[in-house]
């Protein structure tokens, strides 16, 4: 957040490592490669932790909904506390979401990280389904690909 909007006045600042963070901001579309890193980052954060999903792409895929490499709904893979819709949302929307999240934390509504522990099997199954595919989704596999893969090994 730039100095014009200045989130530091609410005591919010960026942290360089997940160990020091309270909130994970997922900004924009999530590709499969990113998802792996997001899950790893999320699991490294100490509790209590919250997730803010930013933009339409994290809610239903946005304009990338039919891409072969971007997931459509982030909440299926990690628990999301609050979402900001829009493409792109204004900075004010993010600040409003963070303020709302603060209120939700105080009233005890925001506790999605507990859900992650309770329904770990559900989230893990979803993550594995997209990250550890064991069969081709659309059938038939290219033969040359296989040959190349075996020749490398």
């Amino acid at each position: 957040m730039t100095s014009r909007w200045d989130v530091e006045r609410f005591g919010i600042g960026p942290m360089a490592t997940p160990r020091q963070a309270d909130v994970l901001l997922v900004t924009g579309y999530v590709s499969l490669k990113t998802l792996k890193r997001i899950i790893r980052t999320y699991e490294q954060m100490p509790e209590p932790k919250w997730v803010l999903a930013f933009g339409s792409c994290t809610v239903n895929g946005g304009i990338y909904w039919d891409s072969y490499n971007t997931i459509t709904n982030l909440a299926e893979y990690i628990p999301v506390d609050i979402t900001v819709s829009g493409c792109m949302p204004r900075p004010e929307a993010v600040m409003d979401a963070l303020q709302t999240l603060m209120k939700m934390i105080q009233s005890g509504e925001a506790g999605a990280y507990k859900k992650y522990k309770e329904n770990y099997e559900y989230y893990k199954a979803n993550q594995d389904r997209v990250l550890r595919k064991t069969y081709p989704i659309l059938g038939e596999k290219l033969i040359q690909n296989e040959e190349a893969a075996t020749s490398i090994e």
């Binding site: 499969l32 490669k33 792996k36 339409s56 809610v59 239903n60 895929g61 909904w65 039919d66 891409s67 072969y68 490499n69 971007t70 997931i71 459509t72 709904n73 299926e76 389904r129 997209v130 990250l131 550890r132 595919k133 064991t134 069969y135 081709p136 989704i137 659309l138 038939e140 596999k141 290219l142 040359q144 690909n145 190349a148 490398i152």
Partner: protein
């Protein structure tokens, strides 16, 4: 020695190639698969020292892939597009890594997204995709929408049918 665009077109036509004049600094050459290496070596010898990119186009109706080798010359200031057509059912082409080292990554990428095999390239491991089991995703016969619906449970219009 600086060559003008017209001189380059003449030189290439003398070698029996089909040359198209596209833009003030851009020409395209149609090469066949057997001649490719010879042709690129010749281009490099007349000052085309920079390989910018290799890309592929899928002409599914004609049953062919077109590979485009973008070559730029810092001395002649001319950008040459070398177009090669290869058979779609047996997509193989000799590698040019020995000519330009940076071709390694371009060839890896084209192999990953189109399944074209560069013969002689030792490392064609995936660069971008992880654990990819389907046909290469940028081929025209790959249905990306169906893939997204099946794997990610994607819904058109954000689920608002």
């Amino acid at each position: 020695m600086k060559l003008s665009k017209e001189e380059i077109i003449d030189l290439l036509k003398q070698r029996g190639l089909e040359v198209n004049d596209l833009y003030p600094t851009q020409i395209s050459v149609i090469v066949n698969k057997e001649n490719l290496i010879n042709h690129l070596v010749y281009l490099k010898s007349i000052g085309f020292d920079h390989l910018s990119f290799i890309n592929a186009v899928d002409f599914i109706d004609e049953g062919e892939f077109e590979l485009v080798y973008h070559v730029w010359s810092y001395t002649n200031k001319v950008h040459v597009l070398n177009k090669v057509r290869i058979d779609r059912n047996d997509p193989k082409i000799p590698t040019i890594v020995d000519l330009w080292e940076q071709a390694q990554f371009y060839e890896q990428e084209v192999h990953e997204f189109f399944g074209i095999v560069f013969e002689g390239n030792k490392d064609l491991s995936p660069l971008f995709l992880e654990n990819w089991l389907d046909i290469p995703p940028l081929r025209k016969d790959f249905d990306t929408r169906e893939f997204s619906i099946r794997l990610f449970d994607a819904k058109p219009n954000g689920g608002d049918r």
